[in-house]
């Protein structure tokens, strides 16, 4: 495949970035998108140019590190995949591909396609956990009866890898799908119910403090989420917050 890549290049957080065009040839349709980026970077290094900085780690769709906005969509045109799981066969020979970093005020660009998603970490630190006494007298989690439906729904919410595609794709840069998933995965289980009221209040407060926008229920986040996290998690978070504030 012969492609034209238009990639956002930005020296550092303070620098003014711009799109730079790179023609690239001999790309196999079976390559992953990141492998294609590796080929480009190899060529750039051989030419003595600076390689394109981009986040990646597991390359198996688990870690949530890759974060490219490809042709106007978070993680590109495919559904339920991260950028590392996107294959070049999704594009046609001769295509022009726009590659930008995820954009939100709360996700500042560090360099090229690398962004700072530590706002998500701070939201998690604010309440995305359960407090368990690990002195040796901890009750075996398997001894607590949990309905199949609750367990499955909690597991679906826990599938969120915190990649930030929901924020990147939302026209309001809202993080409510992420926070909704993190609130839900605990609120649905007995172990998480104990601290449910404090958790949702602290996490929502931190989300607001980080400067994310408001959800207008367009559903774009759900469509672009590589893990298919449902909008129902946002409704559950809203219910949890109402319960915590009113009762």
């Amino acid at each position: 495949m012969r492609l034209t890549l238009k990639i956002w290049r930005q020296e550092n957080a303070q620098a003014k970035g711009a799109m730079v065009t790179y023609p690239i040839d001999n790309i196999s349709p079976d390559m992953s998108f990141l492998e294609m980026m590796d080929v480009l970077n190899k060529e750039l290094i051989e030419k003595g140019e600076s390689p394109v900085a981009f986040d990646h780690d597991c390359r198996e769709g688990i870690c949530g590190m890759c974060s490219m906005f490809i042709n106007g969509e978070a993680h590109g045109p495919d559904r339920n995949v991260t950028t590392c799981q996107l294959h070049m066969r999704k594009f046609k020979d001769g295509d022009t591909i726009h590659i930008e970093p995820f954009r939100a005020k709360a996700f500042p660009v560090i360099r090229d396609l690398v962004i700072d998603r530590s706002a998500f970490d701070r939201i998690q630190h604010a309440g995305g956990f359960i407090s368990v006494n690990t002195s040796g007298n901890t009750q075996d989690a398997n001894a607590i009866p949990i309905s199949k439906h609750a367990a499955d729904t909690a597991m679906d919410a826990a599938a969120c890898i915190g990649c930030g595609a929901c924020v990147a794709t939302c026209k309001n840069s809202s993080a409510m799908l992420f926070v909704g998933a993190k609130v839900s995965q605990f609120a649905l289980l007995p172990q998480g119910k104990v601290e449910a009221a404090d958790r949702v209040q602290h996490m929502v407060d931190q989300m607001d403090l980080e400067g994310f926008g408001n959800c207008t229920n367009t559903g774009a986040c759900e469509v672009e989420c590589p893990k298919g996290i449902s909008l129902e998690n946002i409704a559950r978070m809203n219910r949890e917050l109402l319960k915590a504030k009113l009762f």
């Binding site: 906005f69 809202s174 929502v204 607001d208 229920n217 774009a220 672009e224 409704a235 917050l241």
Partner: protein, 225 residues
């Protein structure tokens, strides 16, 4: 309670509650307007009741005005906050790939409805305020009109084809606004009903039938006057 509305979710809940309130009002408004097509006498009677009943005039009307003003103001506030939350604009953003046009343009449809409301107030509400609260005439009658004046006034307003056109365009935007707003309001208050087929169908019917009905009423009076 005050703490709740200081959060982003609390503000969305308030926005949704005002939307649900306005949707109930719209249904009531449509029901009364429909009477003008079915029975002029019934329309006159109900209009006079609504226009002179102290509970409606001094309790429900201020609540309605508050609801309308709150919904618009909160809409603008939330939109400003959302724009602030955005980083640099994407060079290429394919919004159509993952969300309906109506859901992405609620501000636009809301602004058209706001413009319509200004026209609607000039046409109907300000003259009513003038007659009742400035002139002090609560009789519901007018010179040269037999019985109550409301039906004749309504028909007279829709003689002008430009007004009928403007109302019709506004109602199309109202349909678009409701198309997303109906289910979105339920989602915002924490209900999954908005995701259920039944409520989505009810929302779809509501969002098209009510505005289409309003257009039909305007056209009916225009062509039968």
């Amino acid at each position: 309670m005050a703490q709740l509305f200081q959060t982003s979710i609390g503000r969305k809940v308030a926005m949704a509650l005002s939307a649900i309130f306005l949707m109930v009002f719209l249904l009531q408004h449509f029901t009364i307007n429909s009477l003008s097509v079915i029975s002029p006498e019934a329309f006159n009677e109900v209009s006079h009741f609504m226009g002179t009943n102290p509970l409606v005039q001094f309790v429900l009307q201020p609540v309605l005005i508050f609801g309308v003003v709150f919904h618009f103001l909160m809409g603008f506030i939330l939109d400003i906050q959302n724009r602030r939350a955005n980083g640099q604009t994407y060079i290429k953003y394919n919004g159509a790939a993952n969300a309906k046009w109506v859901s992405r343009h609620m501000l636009l449809s809301g602004l058209v409805i706001l413009g319509f409301m200004a026209l609607h107030f000039v046409d109907f509400w300000f003259p009513e305020v003038n007659i009742k609260f400035i002139q002090g005439d609560w009789s519901g009658t007018a010179e040269g009109v037999e019985g109550f004046r409301y039906y004749e006034e309504l028909r007279h307003k829709f003689v002008n084809p430009y007004r009928v056109g403007a109302y019709s365009v506004a109602f199309v935007f109202l349909a678009l606004h409701l198309n997303h707003g109906f289910t979105s309001a339920f989602q915002s208050v924490g209900s999954n009903w908005g995701r259920k087929k039944v409520l989505q169908t009810v929302g779809l019917i509501y969002s098209y039938v009510i505005p289409a009905g309003f257009i039909g009423i305007a056209l009916f009076h225009h062509f039968t006057h």
